[in-house]
């Protein structure tokens, strides 16, 4: 059953990539939402009761949008990946910054 070996070998890589991108990006997105709400000084429910609405915190808003930008970057990379594959290029991460190289 050589196929089982190949399949398990592929499976854990897919799982790893899936966790980093598929769970990681939404988590960053959720942090962005949390940060935005905090920045707006919104009331929130905690374990010890409801916190009073606070003052506006611009830094929270900025961090929130920064986190959204990270997510959008991730999505753009994902789309580039699909498109590049179709045109005979591939994304290369070997020098940290993603670059397009010919297959």
């Amino acid at each position: 059953m050589h196929n089982l070996g190949f399949a398990l070998d592929g499976a854990w890589q897919v799982l790893l990539a899936g966790l980093v991108l598929g769970a990681g990006l939404p988590i960053i997105f959720a942090l962005g939402i949390r940060s935005l709400a905090w920045g707006a000084g919104e009331a929130s429910v905690t374990g010890s009761g409801v916190t009073a609405p606070g003052p506006r915190r611009p830094i929270g808003t900025v961090i929130g949008y920064l986190l959204f930008a990270v997510v959008i970057l991730g999505v753009v990379l994902g789309i580039t990946f699909i498109v590049a594959g179709g045109f005979g290029y591939k994304l290369d991460f070997s020098n940290v910054f993603p670059t397009l190289i010919e297959k």
Binding site: N3, L4, G10, A11, V14, G22, I82, G88
Partner: protein
């Protein structure tokens, strides 16, 4: 003449592939009302169209994964061309019919089953009937993940589990992070999260699945001597396959959307975001690694996972069990239809045989369409409460392999 029937049938398969798989991308967005049903299917249709054109890579060797009717460059095996290619065309035709019939039947009972497995099943069945057991690539040659076992069976078992784990982890952490925040932030935020991630799934679907039809049509053209270039696909094939899958997607398989969006578990916007991002990441990562998997299995697994990951959510395991049962019989059932169609076509013989097969397909399709008219599911009632609806005629018929 036979060639025209094959092309028509291939486009029909592409169409069923589209409407069968709308649910994979859009069921969660429709269920959480992030998008209105009509808007969702329109968006998905357009992205499938775009995706289909992005797939410039030639998928001519698509059948090599499961059957031995082509050589490595994509040219049909010489011994199959002795009779002007009509023997090969009949195998392709019978295989496609097997795929379409199974797609329609699973749509009728509202079960998301893999369109690519239906196609592969039909081709395997038709090949066994036409060339015998040796014509099937069961287990590859040992050098890479290949064959019916490596390209179909193992990924089918592994991919839903992977997708479920990713979505469950994502959902669980998202609920931890956003607990207690005012709903006006989470609702608006995750609405966009859902639309974005669902769009990515649609795009990836167009790129992956339209290619298969393009490959099959081009193979038929080569077999009948109408095309010889294995590096390129005729433009009209690309355009018509892209349009067929987009149109099918836009029509929307509402029955399946309903099962996936409402039946499996009740989805909230954060879950939808986690489920679709998980699905998109798993699909992209695996196509990069050459790990062939079905969009349907991934999407279903991730919806299930988002139900497991959300504190307090329930998963309807009876629905999940029925889906898994349908997945297990997809290959043999589509194969059986494919084999029977080949025998019928071969018995009658020649152009008449192909016509008979095509007519049988039309009769079966019309019958299933008429059957679907009672207990209709469309954009107006796709979101009705699942448990209340179970008493109406929509109640699923047991998924048996009749045809």
């Amino acid at each position: 003449m036979i060639l025209a029937l094959v092309v028509l049938t291939a486009l029909a398969f592409d169409f069923t592939n589209g409407f069968h798989d709308t649910a994979n991308a859009m069921a969660t967005s429709i269920a959480t009302k992030a998008l209105r049903p009509k808007t969702a299917v329109a968006l998905s249709g357009v992205l499938n169209l775009v995706g289909a054109f992005l797939s410039v890579e030639v998928a001519l060797t698509v059948t090599n994964a499961v059957v031995k009717i082509q050589d490595k460059s994509g040219l049909p095996k010489a011994e199959l061309l002795a009779d002007g290619g009509s023997g090969l065309l009949l195998i392709i035709l019978a295989g496609l019919v097997g795929g379409i019939v199974w797609n329609l039947l699973t749509w009728l009972v509202g079960l998301p089953s893999s369109s690519s497995h239906a196609l592969f099943g039909g081709l395997v069945g038709a090949t066994i009937a036409g060339l015998g057991w040796g014509g099937v690539n069961w287990n590859g040659d040992g050098s890479k993940l290949d064959g019916v076992v490596g390209k179909v069976l193992l990924p089918a078992v592994l991919s839903p589990v992977i997708a479920a784990v990713v979505a469950a982890v994502g959902t669980w952490i998202i609920f931890k992070i956003t607990s207690g925040i005012a709903a006006r932030f989470t609702d608006k935020g995750f609405r966009w999260g859902q639309i974005g991630s669902a769009s990515l799934v649609s795009l990836a679907h167009g790129t992956n699945d339209a290619q298969k039809t393009m490959g099959v049509i081009t193979l038929a053209l080569i077999a009948s001597g109408h095309w010889s270039d294995t590096e390129n696909i005729p433009l009209w094939v690309k355009v018509s396959a892209a349009l067929a899958i987009a149109l099918g997607t836009y029509l929307g398989g509402w029955r399946i959307i309903r099962t996936l969006g409402k039946g499996l578990t009740d989805i909230s916007p954060p879950q939808g975001t986690a489920a679709q991002s998980g699905a998109a990441a798993v699909i992209l990562a695996s196509s990069h690694l050459g790990f062939a998997l079905s969009t349907t299995h991934v999407a279903t697994g991730s919806v299930l996972g988002s139900g497991l990951g959300r504190p307090g959510a329930t998963v309807r395991w009876a629905v999940a069990g029925r889906m898994i049962a349908a997945w297990m019989i997809t290959l043999p059932a589509a194969g059986l239809v494919g084999a029977v169609m080949w025998w019928v076509g071969d018995m009658v013989g020649g152009v008449a045989g192909a016509l008979v097969v095509f007519t049988l397909l039309v009769i079966a399709s019309v019958a299933m369409y008429l059957r679907s008219r009672s207990g209709r599911v469309d954009s107006s009632n796709v979101n009705d409460d699942w448990d209340a609806a179970a008493e109406t005629p929509v109640a699923p018929i047991p998924a048996t392999a009749t045809n």
